[in-house]
Every structure is written in structure tokens, then in C-alpha cells.
């Protein structure tokens, strides 16, 4: 994110804080003298609520100012906070505290204006700080009165942003989506006209349609862009958390951001927050070593944690990388054997071993810290990402560090999907979940433990017949051939058996009405160009709620 954008955000925010602070002060002033308020029984309680809201506003502004490097302003606000706290604690009469507070608000406004004019020269407020210090020491409002400031300062800094509730943007986006579908219908009408001989009219309609198409896609893109937020707004929330968390374990961590101006749909940013929190916590708890340990390994005592965001075609990649102790696959393998997840004679690939870490309740450290506990975090992160049609994977080297990579579709609303037909119904399988698809002979599906499985390159993968699972009419298995779509990853791979594959397509996700309840294995619906509705498969749901809970033998044909 470039600095000028950061500055603008800061000023916009500051404007709001000062405004909130001002209104709180004014209502305090009213509360003391306004006769109409005599009915208020407990004015003290109301006052303390107002003071708390003023404190909240100041606190935000103080934090932001500190972050922007305006130290003097930060200190000044800190002193204002002290004054407010004294009134809250009853050490100072509210009315006595008001004059310096009101003046303080004007001083902040002036300082913000100066910052807007020349951001590179931080305002100096030493004199005002000293005034407040002496006020706090003497409890008197003898602070010298200054002349009234530039009247324009009351207007505050000018902003060029508008706050819009996200719901409104969401509504606009779905309206634009409906336009796209209407456009497709009109296209069908146009070709029908052309075929029935109305060539001229069809041509006119086609021309109009083409221009409508441009407008519609511009509209859609514009709304999508308005929903985008730089990922840095999320990254920065972790700075303090990482520092404090590391500190509590006697570790030092430097958090570095890369590509933090990559923009993402706000819904994705919101959904990313918790999984990222788990990954960062995991990196600090398990990855980064103590300074002493690091010195022994010849690493700098301060650990480095890098958050990177990049975009590649339709996917966004978020990397959480540490330079800590890394993961020893052998250690995980031993643990998995001990837990009975692996057998001693199994020889899984390194990648598959690392995937075990995402299983519920799997952890590499024997004494888990009080914070991230038995590896619960990784499991949660993986599950959340799967819900967004994304994936998490781990790359690691012993003693060099680990990197968790989150891969997400760029938009939650439109995803590429593989269309597959089972028992006469077409289902959309999000491409992000698909590993591969294979044509198979019916006779190559075997029974093992009363469950159908297929051997794919020496791996045994359980088979789930979509038609059977969804209780559809019995599928048709043309000539004993069927297609297996391998979805999920690592231990959670399953092969969905379908009758036919019908190619790949971008689909617009529409949620199903809640009256359908929690339809196992279905995450939504989409309308195809020909008006038909297809259901979108919920791959993690298929695995968890469907496959695991299914009695053995069910779903067999």
C-alpha cells in the first residue's frame, strides 16, 4: 500500500475520531447545565458512558498517530486521555476538565490540518503537552488561553471517501448478476429470431445486446472493485499480536509484509482473519525458536515472520513463512505411527506426511503451549479454507523454516467448476477441490471393508457414487465405464464416481434458501446459460458429513 493511501486512511479515520470526541465533550457540557436533563436520574452513569466513548475515540487516534510516526501528537493525546481518566475516576470535576479538553480537540484538529498540508513534518506539540502536564499536576484550569484558531480548522480535513454499508454493495452485486442472466436470455431470443427468419430485427437486437453487455460487465467489475480491500488492512492487525505473543514466550519476532496492497473481496478478507490468526500463532508457538536456541543455530536472535500476498490468474496466494525450526517429517511420521494413523511399514511421501498436521488433534510438540494447544489451529484453518473453496498446504525444511500457503479463488461469487453428470443430474464440482479425473472400468472398483475403493497409482482411494449418495435414480454405467473425480487432498481424498464429465465452466454461486436445511454435500446452486439450475457440491461437507458418517455399504450401487 502506498504511503499517500495510508495517509488518507489515517486522516479519514482521525476525522471520525475527533468528531466522536467532540460530540462526547459537547454532550458532557450539556449534561452539566441543561435544565431539560434534570429528569435524568443517574447522570453520573451517563457521564461515565460518554467519557468512555470519548476515551475510545482518543485511544484509536493515539494508536494510529503513533503508527504514522506522529509521536508528539500521540503524546499529547495521551495526556488528554489522562485528563479524561481523572474525571472518570472522580478526581476531577467534569466541568473543570472540559476547558482543556475542548481546547485539546482544537489543537488536534489544527495538527491534523498541518499533517494534511505537509505530511512529512510531524507537528510539534511540546508546549501544549506541558500545559496539560501542569494542569494535571495542579488540577487547575490555569492553562494559558490561546487565541481562537483558524476558523477553518473546525471543518477538519477534507475527505474523499464515502462509507457504504457492505450490504448495499452486496445487493448491487446480486442485481448486476441478475442482469447477466437476463442478458443471456435476450441472447437466446435473438438467436431464435434469427432462425425464424427475422434477420434484420435480430441484427438490431444483437447490436443493442452487445452494448448492453459492455455496460453490464463494466458495472459488475465496478461493484466488485468497490468491494475490494487491500489485504494490508488485515495484515497490520497482526503486528501487535505477533509481538505480544512472541514476547510472552520469551521470543522475538519481526513481522514483515509483502504484497500487502493486493486487493481482495471484503468477504474473503473477513473469512481470512481467523485462519491467518491460527497460522501466525502456530508459527510463533511452534516455528520460531527462543533467541538462545537461534543463536546456537547461527541464526539472528530475532525471528522473521513474513506475510506475503500474491495473485496468479484467478487465485490469490497468501503465504505465512517463518525462519524457525521447521518441521521434521520423521518426527511426524513417528507420532502418526504412535497414534495409529500410519503403520510402521507405510512409506508415505513427505508431502503426505506434512498433510497429517492438518488432521484434528495432531501436534508435533509434546508439551503444547497454553495458547495454540494441541494443533487445533491448523485443523481449523484448513477447514475454513476448504469452505471458501481454497486450500492450505505446508512446505517446510528442518531448521530453515516453514511456509503455510493458502490458495483461494479470487472471488467467492464466481468460481471455475467441473460439470459432472450422475444419474441424469448435473453437479458442479469446484475446480479448486479437484485433483484429477480418470476414466475407469467398473471392474476396477473393488470392495474393501464393505466400502468401494479404487487403486490409483498405488494409492487406495475410497469411492463415493454421487448418484447413490444423493439417492438419485440408479445411474447409468455405459459399458461398464465410469469417471472418477478425485477431490480433496492427502488423507481426505475421495473419488466421486460419476457417469459423464461435461467440461469446465465459470459459475455464479447462489446460496440455497435456508428452508432446505443443511443439505449434506450441497453448498449452493448456479444457473447455467440455458436456464438450467445445477447444484454445487460441498466437497469438505461430502467428506465429513457424508462419507464419514455413512454406514459402510451405503452408497454402493
Amino acid at each position: 500500500m502506498d504511503y499517500s493511501q495510508l495517509l488518507r486512511d489515517y486522516l479519514d479515520d482521525a476525522e471520525e475520531c475527533v468528531h466522536a470526541f467532540d460530540s462526547a465533550l459537547l454532550s458532557l457540557e450539556d449534561g452539566g447545565s441543561d435544565g431539560a436533563r434534570t429528569e435524568v436520574i443517574n447522570s453520573e452513569a451517563i457521564n461515565s458512558e460518554v467519557i468512555n466513548s470519548a476515551l475510545g475515540a482518543l485511544h484509536t487516534l493515539k494508536g494510529n498517530s503513533g503508527m504514522m510516526g506522529y509521536t508528539s501528537l500521540k503524546d499529547f493525546i495521551h495526556h488528554l486521555e489522562e485528563v479524561l481518566k481523572q474525571t472518570l475516576e472522580g478526581k476531577l470535576e467534569v466541568q473543570a476538565g472540559l476547558p482543556p479538553l475542548l481546547e485539546g480537540s482544537s489543537i488536534i484538529k489544527k495538527a491534523l490540518q498541518d499533517i494534511e498540508k505537509s505530511p512529512s513534518s510531524p507537528p510539534e506539540l511540546n508546549e501544549s503537552i506541558m500545559d496539560l502536564e501542569s494542569f494535571l499536576a495542579n488540577g487547575s484550569s490555569e492553562a494559558p488561553r490561546r487565541e481562537i484558531l483558524d476558523l477553518e480548522s473546525y471543518l477538519g480535513a477534507r475527505t474523499d471517501t464515502v462509507k457504504v454499508s457492505f450490504n448495499k454493495l452486496d445487493d448491487l452485486l446480486s442485481l448486476a448478476g441478475e442482469l447477466v442472466i437476463t442478458k443471456t436470455r435476450l441472447g437466446a431470443i435473438e438467436s431464435a429470431m434469427r432462425e425464424s427468419g427475422n434477420k434484420e430485427e435480430a441484427a438490431v437486437l444483437k447490436e443493442a445486446l452487445e452494448s448492453a453487455e459492455k455496460t453490464i460487465s463494466g458495472l459488475q467489475e465496478g461493484i466488485m472493485r468497490a468491494r475490494m480491500v487491500p489485504v494490508g488492512t488485515l495484515f497490520r492487525k497482526f503486528t501487535r499480536m505477533a509481538r505480544d505473543l512472541a514476547g510472552s514466550q520469551g521470543k522475538k519476532v519481526h513481522l514483515v509484509f509483502q504484497g500487502e496492497d493486493t486487493e481482495l473481496d471484503k468477504t474473503i478478507i473477513d473469512e481470512l482473519a481467523k485462519p491467518l490468526l491460527h497460522l501466525i500463532r502456530n508459527a510463533i508457538d511452534h516455528g520460531i525458536e527462543t533467541p538462545a536456541e537461534r543463536r546456537k543455530k547461527g541464526k539472528p536472535p530475532e525471528g522473521r515472520l513474513t506475510l506475503t500476498s500474491t495473485q496468479e490468474s484467478n487465485y490469490i496466494f497468501i503465504r505465512v513463512e517463518d525462519d524457525g525450526r521447521g518441521v521434521d517429517p520423521e518426527e511426524i511420521r513417528k507420532k502418526a505411527v504412535k497414534k495409529g494413523i500410519l503403520k510402521e511399514e507405510d512409506t508415505p511421501q513427505e508431502e503426505e506426511i506434512l498433510d497429517l498436521l492438518f488432521l484434528p488433534g495432531f501436534s508435533t510438540r509434546d508439551e503444547s503451549t497454553d495458547i495454540s494447544g494441541r494443533g487445533i489451529g491448523l485443523d481449523v484453518a484448513a477447514k475454513n479454507m476448504a469452505r471458501l473453496n481454497g486450500q492450505v498446504s505446508l512446505h517446510s525444511r528442518k531448521d530453515e523454516g516453514s511456509a503455510f500457503v493458502i490458495k483461494l479463488p479470487l472471488s467467492l461469487a464466481i468460481i471455475p467448476a467441473l460439470m459432472a453428470e450422475a444419474a441424469g443430474e448435473v453437479f458442479a464440482i469446484p475446480i479448486s477441490a479437484v485433483e484429477e479425473s480418470i476414466k475407469m472400468d467398473e471392474k476396477d472398483i473393488h470392495l474393501m471393508n464393505l466400502r468401494e475403493v479404487a487403486m490409483i497409482r498405488d494409492n487406495i482411494i475410497p469411492v463415493l457414487r454421487l448418484g447413490g449418495f444423493f439417492n438419485l435414480k440408479k445411474g447409468f454405467f455405459g459399458g461398464g465405464k465410469l469417471y472418477l473425480v478425485i477431490v480433496g487432498r492427502g488423507e481426505k481424498r475421495i473419488a466421486l464416481a460419476v457417469d459423464r464429465l461435461k467440461g469446465q465452466q465459470e459459475i455464479v454461486i447462489k446460496p440455497l434458501d435456508e428452508s432446505f436445511g443443511r443439505s449434506r454435500g450441497i453448498s449452493g446452486a448456479s444457473i447455467l446459460g440455458d436456464g438450467r439450475i445445477v447444484l454445487i457440491l460441498d466437497v469438505p461437507g461430502l467428506w465429513e458429513e457424508g462419507f464419514l458418517s455413512l454406514p459402510r455399504g451405503a452408497g454402493l450401487s
Partner: protein, 177 residues
């Protein structure tokens, strides 16, 4: 596409306060039922219904209503009436409830009626209990009886009674035996 009706949600029609007649859409489910016309947005023929697997049995599926994924309720199943497949006469009433659109599958749409309010009686007490509070009245017409439904109340039931014995998939079928 069918008959397009006024889309203004005349909530007061439900109460009929100060009115001497009520306009209803009546439809057949073996018996005659009716809902206030203000709730009905339009009546459409059944096209392709996409079945949603693992959904409650009274949910018939989804249809594409001009680019919108419209859920369709099977009213017979919801009312635990004997099942009856769809025919040429089957229709979907598109209803607006609490700002949401819902399709309800019925055997046939009979009439749009203006009924004098003095022909509407409270439902007989012996058929009325807490479980059937969605029946708001019975309309006595010269040739037939029309049972007036409050669809909002009927739908609200699904939350409170989900999985209750009366909503099991085959409850309606059992009655036939």
C-alpha cells in the same frame, strides 16, 4: 408464463379489517384451499424442478425464476396430505413472505374469488389446535368449502417442528394405508 397478479403485498387483506370482502386465490390439493391474493405474486407452470438431495421431504426443489433460484415447497407434503404426482394442471404459486419469494406446488389453481367476509367462519374448534393454527378460517361458498391458509404461520412451523413425526418424509403416504 401464466397469470401475472398484482404484486402489492396487501397485508391488511389478511385481517380484512373494515372490509366486507376478501379476494383470494383458491387452489386444489384434493380439498380446496385459499390464500389472500395480496400474498401471491404470480402463478407459473412447473418447468424443470431441480431436486435438492438430502433436503426436507416437503421441499420439492429449486426452479429458475428469471435468474433467481426459487425454492419450491410441496404444499401437500407440508400439510401431510397424501402425495399426488404432478400433472398438466399442476402450478406453482409464487408467494412473498417476509420479503422472501417462495414457490408452492399445488395440484391446480381453481379461481380468483371475491368472497364476502360474512361467508368466512372461524375454523371448527374440533379441527383446530396449536398444531393447525395456520388455518385461519373456512369460506362457505354455495358449492364448496375453501380452507383459508396463513402460509407464514405454516412455514414458521418448520423451524419449531423440524424432524417432528408429522414432517417425516412418508407421513403423508402413511395416511393412505
Amino acid at each position: 408464463m401464466g397469470i401475472k397478479l398484482g404484486s402489492s403485498g396487501l397485508a391488511e387483506d389478511l385481517g380484512m379489517a373494515g372490509r366486507d370482502e376478501l379476494q383470494i386465490v383458491s387452489f386444489n390439493l384434493g380439498e380446496e384451499y385459499g390464500v389472500p391474493i395480496g400474498q401471491v405474486q404470480e402463478i407459473i407452470r412447473i418447468g424443470n424442478i431441480t431436486v435438492v438431495p438430502n433436503a426436507p421431504a416437503y421441499m420439492e426443489g429449486v426452479i429458475n425464476l428469471r435468474g433467481r433460484v426459487l425454492p419450491v415447497l410441496n404444499l401437500r407434503r407440508k400439510l401431510s396430505l397424501p402425495a399426488n404426482g404432478t400433472t398438466k394442471k399442476s402450478r406453482i404459486l409464487v408467494i412473498e413472505i417476509k420479503g422472501k419469494l417462495l414457490g408452492t406446488l399445488v395440484d391446480a389453481v381453481s379461481h380468483v374469488l371475491k368472497v364476502p367476509s360474512n361467508s368466512i367462519e372461524e375454523p371448527p374448534e374440533d379441527i383446530l389446535d396449536k398444531e393447525t393454527d395456520y388455518i385461519t378460517g373456512v369460506c362457505k361458498l354455495p358449492k364448496e368449502l375453501v380452507i383459508l391458509l396463513d402460509l407464514e404461520k405454516l412455514l414458521a412451523r418448520e423451524n419449531g417442528h423440524e424432524g417432528g413425526p408429522d414432517l417425516q418424509p412418508d407421513a403423508g403416504v402413511d395416511r393412505e394405508n
